[in-house]
Amino acid sequence: MALASLARARGHEYRLLLFVGAVLAVGGWLLVVNVPSLAPAHTIQELALLFGLYALASLFLSFRLPTADQVLLPVVALLTAIGLLSIRRLSTTELYAASADRQVVWLAAGIVVLMATITLAPRLESLKRYKYTAAAAGFLLILGTIRFGVDITGGPYRRWFGFHGIYFQPVEILKVLVVIFYAAYLDEKREVLSLAEFRLGRLRLPPIQYLGPLFLTWLLSLLLLTFQNDLGSALLFFGIFLAMLYVASERRSYLWIGIGVFLVGVVLAFRLFPHVRQRADIWLNPWRYAHDQAYQVVQGLIALANGGIVGSGLGQGHPGFVPVANTDFIFTSVGEELGLGGGMAVLGLFLVFAFRGLRIAALARDPFERLMAVGLTSTLAIQALVIVGGNLRLMPLTGVTLPFMSYGGSSLLANFVIIGLLLRISAHE
């Protein structure tokens, strides 16, 4: 009888996960048929394992957090499924040979982290107390990476911590820490923000308390940009802050000031940093640099074009011709083989994720959790926007990952933490 009630508990989620299973099955069949060099048994096991992991997670939620949102996990599952299918497909190229297996390991770890976040994380309210700790930890992390980190691409920009061959990007955890800080800060200073004003002559400026985190964000982005050439993360943090500010504050003017500061920052960055100028140039004139710096973007667009509306077919295209095809350009890899239909579906999935996250925010118990939800949702939604935007030339290409789809352990783990927190918030626990 308990099983029967269990079956009804998260019915939507189960049904949606069945679709994910079907996608894995059909995708797996296509891979096995179209790419003879893939070991069929290995591929099928891998995909089945992925499905099993999500079934396990869903089961876990049914017991531990039954009232949590039922759409989030399946959306994440589908994104990781499409990502894994693509990564497995790319593993025929020498360069990406090991990535599929590694991704599965990271996915398994991610599910574990998800369950751990739900079980072990303290009452979210208590996170409020640690906001300054979180901020400080974040800064230390970044400074530490700048000082002690490594650059696995061989360049001068140290974004990784290495440990026995496993590499980890701290900026991913930073995202979570920053959201916690902003949410707690904006919640605490809510009264102050709405009432107090700072008058400078005839100008009504927002109070110091608001300027504080704004400045912090600026500093953070600056650090990221200067020492780590991480334009994407710099943009991302600003975006997250603006989103959270908009939802938190009563005053519309704060948002505009925030945007203004952002734009000023962009212009300054453009003037002060030659590599930012260069990226802007490459973005605006890719055809001129089609054989050197803009090679990646151009090849990505060519890949998409070759896919057309129907796509070349999973395993039947040549996504491997695009550089970093399983990380920065995973979207074009999917777009080439699954066509316009597939690409739009992926965009749709991210939009659905955004909606779901905002709904969780709308139904949240208290303003802090609401702000957390907004921040966490924006992190993933904006990140996807930034990387796909770079692929499609909406903006300059940056090195952020496409959440859940790109190959990369640190990104997956941090993102599963985010999902765990969102599920907690949605369950009102």
Binding site: V247, E250, N306, F321, L340, L358, A362, L392, L394
Partner: protein
């Protein structure tokens, strides 16, 4: 509105922002993946173009009896195109990744490669299914048996042998030596070995231009008859027959008369039979430069010859302004500045054989789509009406005499049971130590000609002794095979 509702509306607006942003991305996706797609796909830096080229299943090339001349097979997955008769390497050409295509493989590349979008819907379906595009098949007018006959008869030293049907214009054999083996074109070192001085990559039948020597007398004769300058029975006597001839201070020696000793008077027909250069020099002077050049022009000299491959243009003179009497006189027997491709001379031959009308020469008979649909079925068509049937009959008669008459220069072209018509040619090349080019043009049977033959042996010697027997051998072996 309480605080919750206010923040709810802000959340809704944030949601709208995301909708707008993702809609913009969708729009861009459509732009790149659909609207700009054709430009992007065809960029030369798209590596997929080269990867996918392997997937085209190039069409076959067959001879007139559907013997497979060229076919692409896939031993071990990769395409391998094999030319079964290497003697056709020059006509059919090579198909190479490194060196592109030549010959018919080049001229008909769009058909062979399936790119001549005759079935766009079908091809689209095939590309959707990632199935190789099938090229169209060519059927040639070539008869591979006759090709081998001509190749064997010609021997290995540089030269040309052409065989055609004068009634239709179909080319049945085209041999050019030296040649190469198209199958080996991509072998390391082979290409560079073909860059030598004797130009094995040159199709001499179409692109080689030579002084035609006495074979050109056929043109002169036809022109003289047409213009009324002379008749077959016109008499030439004394120095007009035997020489020497003095023109503008230069001398044509008596040795040029080729007459049997003691003869000092000949009819035009006999002068043609003996190949008397003196008579024709006189004839040329009598008809005048304009008649000669125009007469040659109607046979195709100076004109673009329509054919499946480009043909070099033959000329009587390279510079009409400096064409003087001496040139006129010597042009009349195919020297001076006269340059002709072997194909042009074959057409002269065919004109006589076909009652004065040259049929358009062609070698591609039929193009068939993979599904069997016939895309092109070439029909014989008249290219030029050169001379009247009467004049053609007269020249034909002279050509019969030139082989079968007493003392005929073309005596070695005689065949038992068949009346062969023909004309020898021995073209001097100018150097004292160089052998002349040996020519022979012929057709048979003279009464109802069905095969026309043109033979050239570069620096082979006398046309009568070197080229004529080759033509005879070809006719003897080919006539029974072709009707």
């Amino acid at each position: 509105m309480n605080e919750i509702d206010r923040s709810a509306s802000r959340l809704a607006r944030l949601g709208l922002f995301f909708v707008a942003a993702y809609l913009m991305l969708s729009g861009l996706l459509v732009y790149w993946q659909v609207i700009r797609a054709p430009n992007l796909v065809n960029r030369p830096d798209n590596p997929r173009l080269y990867a996918e080229q392997q997937a085209v299943h190039r069409g076959d090339i067959l001879d007139r009896r559907s013997t497979v001349l060229v076919r692409t097979t896939f031993p071990g997955g990769d395409p391998l195109r094999t030319l079964n008769d290497p003697t056709l390497s020059l006509l059919i050409g090579y198909h190479s990744q490194q060196y592109d295509n030549s010959g018919l493989e080049n001229a008909y590349n769009d058909y062979l490669n399936g790119a001549a979008a005759n079935q766009p819907l079908d091809n689209m379906l095939r590309s959707l299914l990632h199935q190789p595009v099938l090229g169209d098949n060519l059927q040639l007018t070539i008869d591979d048996r006759i090709q081998h006959i001509a190749d064997a008869a010609l021997g290995s030293s540089p030269g040309v042998a052409l065989v055609a049907d004068p009634r239709t214009g179909e080319v049945l054999a085209m041999v050019s030596k030296p040649s190469f083996d198209a199958n080996r074109i991509d072998q390391p070192g082979y290409w560079s070995s073909l860059q030598g001085e004797n130009s094995p990559l040159l199709n001499r039948a179409l692109d080689g231009r030579y002084p035609p020597g006495s074979t050109f007398k056929t043109v002169t004769l036809a022109t003289a008859l047409t213009s009324g300058t002379a008749t077959l029975s016109s008499l030439f006597s004394g120095q007009d027959a035997t020489g020497p001839l003095f023109i503008q201070g230069a001398m044509l020696p008596a040795s040029a008369n080729n007459l049997p000793p003691g003869l000092n008077q000949v009819t035009l027909e006999d002068a043609y039979k003996y190949s008397d250069n003196i008579v024709f020099a006189v004839l040329g002077q009598r008809m005048g430069a304009r008649n000669l050049i125009n007469g040659a022009g109607s046979f195709g000299f100076g004109q673009h010859i329509p054919f499946d491959l480009p043909v070099a243009t033959s000329v009587v003179t390279t510079d009409p302004n400096t064409f003087n009497q001496y040139d006129l006189a010597t042009s009349a027997f195919g020297q001076a500045q006269v340059l002709s491709t072997p194909l042009q001379l074959l057409l002269v031959d065919e004109a006589i054989a076909n009652g004065g009308t040259i049929m358009r020469p062609y070698v591609v008979k039929k193009i068939t789509a993979p599904n069997g649909e016939v895309l092109q079925d070439t029909q014989p068509s008249a290219w030029r009406v050169v001379i009247s049937p009467t004049v053609a009959a007269q020249v034909g008669q002279a050509m019969v005499t030139a082989v079968n008459g007493p003392g005929a220069s073309g005596y070695l072209a005689r065949l038992p049971g068949v009346t062969v018509a023909g004309k020898t040619g021995t073209a001097q090349l100018g150097g004292a130590t160089q052998q002349p080019d040996a020519w022979f043009m012929a057709y048979a049977p003279a009464e109802h000609p069905r095969l026309a033959v043109l033979v050239l042996k570069e620096q082979g010697g006398e046309g009568s002794t070197v080229a004529a027997p080759i033509a005879a051998q070809i006719l003897a072996q080919a006539l029974p095979l072709y009707h």
